[in-house]
């Protein structure tokens, strides 16, 4: 299965710009049509709501580029969140509980990585299984007794903004992570190798890349990001329960695909992903402010997801038809 031609790459490069353009367009339209779109409250809401998705999208981008996928990230978030609450309730101070959450997240990622790289199971099937397993464990551990009492200092970190600005307290964390991941992807050998593995696993092998170890690291990073995201999530909602983050995995993956990451691997940029996440979040915010039924968001996400994979293929088909027509004429 390789629709990865260089033509697709060209389309993708312009796809980044298209998405940024769409994002800009949505903001313009939204602020024109809705009076309270461009308020600092609303903008901070957009950043808040997309924060956890953004954090998880960063390493998932690497994963998809390398040719794998992880559908268990949201369940990972739920489990890590429950472990955070559970440890806190058991008496641990918050900083220690945070460490527990991140460790649990990384461990779950490592389990995924082990099953995929060592046992050699397909990542799609495995992460469908761990999606249920992790959330199920969360359910079993905490199910009937969620934790909802957290110290104000921390819930403020998750929920509040700096003063009356549009900058949520959690935003700097997201930005720092984003910068790190972007730099690694685009400017380090590690990032290059990730792209290489996605473009041609065999050539990567011949170039001396240890594909197994590399993918394992990616799965662990993804797990760790789920852990970090779970911390922000837990404090934002001041709630540790097994339903946390339900459905988020689809949002993350949709945003990545929307941002120009190819589902076939080997292709993608970080700013495209950022734009994709913000685009989805902005559209949702716009719809909410217009009092549109919240469930339209689900439909819109689905349509966006389908478009992000269908449109490049359609463009390719049109180009080829035009090329053969030209040859026939000439």
């Amino acid at each position: 299965m390789s629709a990865l031609t260089s033509k697709t790459r060209q389309i993708r490069f312009t796809w980044d710009i298209v998405i940024l353009g769409f994002l800009f367009l949505v903001w313009v339209l939204a602020s024109l049509t809705t009076s309270n779109f461009l308020t600092s409250l609303n903008v901070s809401q957009i950043f808040s709501n997309t924060g956890e998705i953004m954090i998880m999208a960063f390493p998932v981008t690497f994963l998809i580029i390398s040719g794998e996928i992880d559908l268990s990230i949201a369940s990972n978030l739920a489990l890590s969140s429950c472990m955070l609450g559970w440890s806190y309730r058991a008496g641990l101070p918050i900083p220690a509980a945070i460490v527990v959450a991140i460790a649990v997240g990384t461990l779950c990622g490592a389990v995924n990585g082990f099953l995929v790289t060592k046992v050699k199971l397909a990542s799609l099937a495995v992460t469908i299984a761990t999606l249920a397993l992790y959330r199920g464990i969360a359910n079993g551990l905490v199910g009937s007794k969620p934790i909802s009492a957290f110290p104000d200092f921390w819930t403020s970190f998750g929920y509040d903004t700096f003063g009356n600005s549009f900058i949520p307290k959690a935003l700097p964390l997201v930005i720092i992570l984003g910068i790190i991941f972007a730099l690694v992807l685009h400017r380090t050998p590690f990032g290059r190798r990730t792209l290489a593995i996605g473009q041609s696993p065999e050539a990567a092998r011949f170039a001396g890349v240890n594909v197994t170890k590399h993918k394992m690291i990616l799965f662990c990073l993804t797990g760790m990001a789920s852990g970090i995201a779970s911390v922000v999530y837990t404090f934002r909602f001041s709630l540790s329960q097994p339903d946390n983050g339900t459905g988020m995995e689809l949002l993350v993956i949709s945003a990545c695909l929307l941002g120009g990451v190819s589902i076939f691997g080997g292709l993608g940029t970080m700013w495209g992903v950022v734009a994709g996440v913000l685009l989805a979040g902005s559209v949702e915010s716009w719809l909410t402010l217009r009092n549109v039924n919240a469930q339209w968001r689900t439909i819109v996400t689905g349509v966006l997801l389908l478009s992000s994979v269908a449109i490049p293929v359609l463009i390719d088909i049109l180009k080829r038809r035009r090329a053969t027509a030209a040859i026939k004429k000439g």
Partner: protein
């Protein structure tokens, strides 16, 4: 070497043995399980998942997947209920037309995108999962339906039992299973799917109509999901917009446990049904052991991993055998 090679018969037979064994084990823990009512419950609770498993079996055999089925079940169930509520004179057969019709539409969309545009089925059915679920919410507009809105004849049919053991929904499952099984074994179109899943490029070369088979399989799974929506109504007698939400995993687990390899080319409708029964039995056994219902989801996930693992072990075995042969040759 011959013994290492798995023929169709061997896999399903061993699964059946495992099923009987597991039922036996569960009955030891919970003697009620093996009674008439216990068996009826088993069949009732498995019917929907079993039907869905049969529906996606051809798809998985072709190395694809359909994640949108659970949304389709919920959506079609709601639409059927809504139609029945709006037309109180509707009988059973109307329900059995409307449900599958809804599913048919979803199946056509999936089929066109996957077979026509050659988009990966994971992404496509993820998208339609979302879209159909969203449509369900929007169209339903928070309106629920319960048994008063549904035709009495439909509810009665749901409770009809044959031989005192097998409720009607499961009879439907068995009929489907037999038809699907015969089709996959004795019709060229059925065999084509195995070929496509086993060696996609070679399938094209021998003239198999890949687009047609793929498209129709997605149509089949969609329609089956629509039918399963009707069965859902018969069992639960109520529906809201969250009906059957998140059950994709149970179906995938049933399918993989039932011997349909995620790598394609292998599997039968019988296997799918046995897999569904096995999953349900294990669930029943565990809850009889006092395992909290909260762990149900985790167990499904773990079961799927175990099934994937054993699938892989078998594949590895034949790889090793081939390697051993090579070594012998070069000696």
């Amino acid at each position: 070497m011959h013994k290492l090679a798995l023929s169709f018969k061997n896999r399903e037979l061993s699964l059946l043995v495992i099923l009987v064994f597991t039922i036996g084990l569960t009955s030891l823990i919970n003697p009620r399980f093996i009674t008439g009512s216990g068996t009826r419950d088993l069949f009732s609770s498995t019917a929907v998942v079993a039907l869905l498993a049969i529906g996606i079996a051809p798809i998985v055999i072709m190395r694809h997947i359909d994640l949108s089925i659970s949304s389709t079940v919920g959506f079609s169930a709601w639409i059927v209920a809504a139609q029945c509520a709006a037309h109180p004179n509707y009988k059973v057969w109307q329900a059995f037309i409307i449900g599958p019709a809804v599913g048919l539409c979803v199946g056509i969309v999936n089929g066109l995108l996957v077979a026509g545009l050659r988009l990966p089925s994971l992404v496509v059915t993820l998208g339609t999962l979302y879209i159909v679920r969203g449509l369900d919410y929007v169209v339903s507009n928070s309106v629920d339906y319960n048994s008063q809105d549904l035709p009495k004849s439909l509810m009665k049919l749901g409770e009809t039992t044959y031989f005192g053991l097998v409720p009607f929904p499961f009879v439907l499952v068995i009929i489907f299973m037999i038809l699907a099984s015969l089709y996959m074994k004795f019709r060229k179109a059925g065999r084509d799917r195995y070929a496509i899943g086993s060696n996609p490029p070679a399938a094209e070369l021998v003239g198999i109509k890949v687009f047609r088979r793929t498209f129709l399989s997605f149509v089949f799974s969609g329609t089956t999901a629509g039918l399963a929506g009707v069965l859902y109504l018969m069992r639960f007698a109520q529906v809201d917009a969250t009906a059957f939400y998140g059950q994709e995993l149970a179906v995938v687990a049933a399918v993989v446990i039932g011997g349909i390899s995620i790598n394609g080319g292998i599997g039968t409708a019988q296997g799918a049904v046995i897999g569904a029964l096995l999953v349900q039995t294990i669930q029943g056994g565990l809850s009889a052991l006092g395992v909290d219902a909260f762990w149900k989801q985790a167990i499904n996930g773990a079961l799927l991993i175990v099934a994937l693992f054993s699938d892989r072990v078998l594949a590895r075995r034949s790889e090793r055998a081939l390697l051993a042969q090579r070594i012998k040759e070069r000696a």
